[in-house]
Symmetry: C2
Subunit: 506 residues, 2 copies
């Protein structure tokens, strides 16, 4: 039977309606190259309407345009003005090489580029808007756009490419609907539970996965938003937290490790309520330290292909905080073996995590659509507890196959990093004639601490967690471990470097 | 540009997935004619699968079927089994007269009737299932249905008729999508913020507006659900709250007035966290008493045509608690004059509240669809504050037109009910040769209190709120005021009775 409910597009316009009508006096704070900008939602909405007119005046309304920009109010204005006109904002990773920028901008067909003034990229063929005083005057001098059309909710709104540790970057285009539903799901009490009395600071970059949709979710419910701007260091972050009374900080574990070290060193407090972290498993030591500082940690899991946060763990039990947690509303998961059979949720069976939901990609940009797709294969290897909590054990491609058995590099890394003298560790598989592959660990010592290979191996044994053949064949001490442009351990690069190193040693 | 996001139906199946996969051990408690039934989500899900098989065996899978039932687990099982098979559950108001039941069952074309055993309705032509031991055995003996099809989110799921104080009841059919989005919106921190650690008791009837979608929202996030069963009295409600540690109670103000009076009389505490109330404006005295008892009040506004809760007021400022509050996500409002022009949100302009959103009806059952509809006209007269908070001042049809000016019956009622000796009051307009209409008040005194007409008029004057010509021409003391089947003051009946009384006095 047909329903009698009206058609209503869950689109950026319906979020913008709330910003403009309900939360006029709420604030957005933006750390820019020129200093702190602080304005109200009503000022923001007016700027969005003026920016829309600027897009129209330049013939790029409704088109796909690129941003190469930090987390600032100018970037945020594009988040709304572009989709409100039916266009797609393609957020380009500022840490991409120029050749990668060229590649993604061509692949999606951008018609213009908006960027911060410290970005080196120069494209001779596309109109380029650089965020500076002239840009601001240009925007401010426009007449505000009066009406926006009601864009179909399934149209694209924001596009983003994976950081591409393997092969070329792959594009994902989020729809208006996916952004709306994902934001709403984030706002529920059992997910992030952000309210209008919160002050949210997304440190996760707006140039990647829309800063996990936090800007949309925060503005949808009238939270104060603090955007930490270009290259925020621990010192900048702590200053913003204190000055603007941030309650919820969102970023990768590496950022919070820096922040916690900084406040310890400077003997400061950290007046946050909640840290939301993801992108990599937060070390238990970090969670414990945040707890000592009075900060609760939410451990989230997600990926570019799930519009970031898709499971969340808010457990009070620190022993369970290494789990990635429970699927949020409008998101489903299960485990599959390589043949595509479902595996039981028994906390023991290990398989590939597969996902579907209202904010899960079915394909990559320019792929031929597969209308039959039921589950997206995440490439993460996981177990699922009987209560539905996910425990990611590795990336499919990071598993080490030794003597026909799997070794989890992530399990080993976490175990090594739980040793008090270790700052960071990465474990990769290198070719071995006898066993196929063998694990080798790269370890960064804590500043001022000494530790030997033997000591770490003995520590791993003492945990009684690993079979003997899991223990790394070699531990190499290094000063730092290469990271990807989104701050993850770059295992591909580590593998390549190790391989060439070991070969040159032959 | 097309998005790359997969199609994912926001349907009852996607809620059921969470119930079955994530919250197996959470509980549902049901007060029935036979006593308390307490079972886990996993038992519930199995019963739903078996009930689906019963529907199939009776040839009514995918059809529209009627329930005439109280808030119990058996009713809840139908909420899921019927839509999961692509059918529509038509919830019939148990307080309808038999002729009204006949009318609505024919109007929508029900193919079967499910009902509690104390319901008098007997329909000779439709297969009838009566909730008793035989019914339970019948369900339990079925093989559970294995797979449910993925019903299109825009299909109907639950249908409900307005209680019809004016004319025939009118039907509204909620879609899977509207239920999903409305439930998700309710779960956000700034709306009800219900979490998996809550225990929710919907006292609002499941036979009307799906108990405001609380059963769906609660199960979607794994909250414990307490269903108070047939004709719950204050005593039953308080007992359930205490026994099952209810944290969130949901019901009309009249119910909470009874509950508060009961706990005061019996010298009991009320260990609730939150009362969600709506359907009528809660008297400030009620909110104050709940506060004294340590209970926070959320004042919600909505109607059958908006799937119940559509605005919510959680203010700490008791003076503002008479406002209906802010529109929840995926719901928009504005004010219109009779010509359809938008009026300003200045807290002064009074106009008809109009609405649109993901859970707003565009028409009534069997109406010809109007594809051009942009706003649903609520029939409520309201002001909107600059910050977006709604203040409903009257129903369009309850405004009293005296000497060419409007008098708000609701404003007068609230003022009279704020007098300490008054229990209830209703104000209606009666015909007057000179003025067109004049206000007359019916007043119920508090038990054991004496009060005169003169005293109430003097009290109204002392408030300095009303022009002299607003004051009622007459105050009639009565023992009780007639209510509609959903517990609202039945102004239509009061007007009819008064009119015939005044005419017979001529």
């Amino acid at each position: 039977m047909d329903s009698t409910i009206m058609d209503y597009n869950l689109n950026i316009k319906s979020i913008f309606w709330r910003i403009e009508k309900l939360y006029k006096d709420r604030e957005i704070i933006s750390r820019t190259h020129e200093g702190i900008v602080r304005y109200k939602y009503s000022d923001f909405a007016l700027r969005v309407r003026k920016l829309a007119s600027l897009l129209k005046a330049n013939g790029i309304a409704g088109e796909t345009v690129a941003s190469i920009a930090w987390n600032t109010h100018r970037h945020l204005e594009l988040y709304f003005a572009v989709p409100l006109l039916g266009g797609v904002l393609h957020t380009v990773n500022v840490r991409f090489h120029e050749s990668e920028m060229d590649y993604v901008i061509k692949a999606i067909g951008d018609r213009a580029v908006f960027m911060d003034k410290d970005i080196a990229y120069r494209n001779s063929t596309l109109p380029t808007f650089i965020f500076d005083e002239t840009y601001d005057e240009n925007v401010n001098s426009q007449e505000p756009t009066k009406d926006f059309t009601d864009v179909d909710e399934k149209e694209g709104a924001i596009a983003c490419f994976t950081s591409g540790t393997t092969g070329k970057p792959k594009g994902v285009v989020y729809s208006h609907r996916s952004i709306f539903i994902h934001s709403l799901s984030l706002l529920t009490a059992d997910v992030l539970g952000i309210s209008s009395s919160d002050t949210v600071m997304p440190i996760v970059p707006m140039f990647h996965i829309s800063a996990w949709d936090l800007p949309f979710a925060s503005l949808m419910t009238g939270a104060k938003l603090v955007l930490p701007g270009p290259r925020p260091k621990a010192e900048d972050i702590v200053k913003l937290i204190k000055e603007f009374k941030v309650t919820v900080g969102v970023g990768a574990p590496t950022i919070w490790i820096d922040v916690v070290n900084y406040v310890e060193r400077e003997n400061l407090d950290l007046p946050l309520n909640v840290v939301v972290t993801g992108g990599a498993e937060p070390p238990l030591g970090l969670i414990k330290k945040l707890k000592e500082l009075g900060v609760k940690t939410y451990h989230a899991w997600g990926m570019t292909e799930t519009e970031a946060i898709a499971t969340v763990n808010k457990s009070d039990n620190i022993e369970r905080m290494s789990e990635q947690g429970y699927p949020i509303p409008a998101f489903e998961i299960t485990l599959m073996d390589p043949e595509g059979n479902e595996l039981p949720w028994d906390g023991k069976s290990t398989g590939e995590l597969v996902a579907r939901g209202a904010f899960v990609t079915k394909m990559y940009l320019n792929d031929k659509p597969d209308t039959q797709i039921r589950w997206f294969r995440t490439g993460d290897v996981a177990r699922i507890n009987p209560d539905g909590s996910v425990k990611v054990v590795d990336r499919l491609k990071d598993l080490i196959k030794s003597g026909g058995e799997w070794i989890s590099s992530v399990d080993l890394e976490n175990a090594i990093m739980s040793y008090e003298k270790v700052l960071e560790a990465v474990v990769v598989g290198v070719k071995d004639e006898k066993w196929g592959e063998r694990p080798i660990a790269l370890v960064v010592k804590k500043p001022g601490r000494e530790v030997s290979e033997h000591e770490i191996i003995e520590y791993l044994k003492s945990l009684n967690k690993f079979p003997k053949w899991w223990l790394p064949d070699k531990i190499i001490f290094v000063d730092s471990i290469p990271k990807t442009s989104t701050g993850k351990l770059d295992k591909k690069l580590v593998r390549d470097q190790l391989r060439s190193m070991l070969e040159s040693n032959k």
